[in-house]
Amino acid sequence: MHAASGRHIRLSLMPGRSLYDALVQPLAEIGVRNASTTILGGFFDDLIYCVAPPDPSGQALVAYSKPIRAGRSFMIFGNATLGKSMRGEPLVHCHAALRTEEGLVRGGHILTDVSIVGRNPIPVLVTSLEGFELRQAYDPETNMPLLQPYKESPHE
């Protein structure tokens, strides 16, 4: 799915907010509900992530691990996709490389609602997706709910 053009925005993730709130709320205020974003690096007061090893039960392709607390960390680089969950709420899917409080370089799936932006604003380059939307929907191949592109809902 494609659009003729996309809008660009430079967003500052504000200190003390969760990564989820810092991304979702300012973009919603300017009508951006679907976007690909690049997080350009910055400190977090708390950063929690998980990884995705194969599902031991074999029911799905992978099974997310328990949350891993990286603590006061530096997010080296991240990508976050903004879309809509199966319940119709904003959804942020974020993967990132990070340096943990212990100084280890790690990476994984960031739990955005419990990861808290640190003392300085963090710059994000946002490319807004216009003319279609990203919705979480069941994917039969992986047996997981995944973000997928759809034509925009006519009532929105």
């Binding site: 205020e29 530096f74 370089v105």
Partner: protein
Amino acid sequence: MSNAVVEKGSMGRVAYARIAPNEDLVQGIEKMCLSEGFTNAFVRGALGSLVDACLGTLDGKYLQIKGPAVEIVSLAGEVRANADGSLRASLSGVVAGPDGNVYGGPFVAGSNPICMTFEVTLEEWLPEAKAAS
């Protein structure tokens, strides 16, 4: 430069450059913007090597990775104009030391001399005249 949470704008010119040995990574990118006339820019691609790498940590401490050479594996960041017209590059990335171990963090200005070469593409960022906040 605006400190708005949301800054609308568009991409402008694209510049590619090689930064030479012993030039500083962060200052080299700032100089590149000055010479190209870019006031704000995003780093859109970069690779190269450092003599030694210096990454910032919490509370103003530093992590030094001894080379040569320390390879830059990934790099992201931006250049922004200060109120006085000077430019400031904020760059972070992953580097690989001579032993193959990887390290990551923000690059400290003035402490990351290029070793062999550093190739970088910058995309000019043009904020709208009146940014939403």
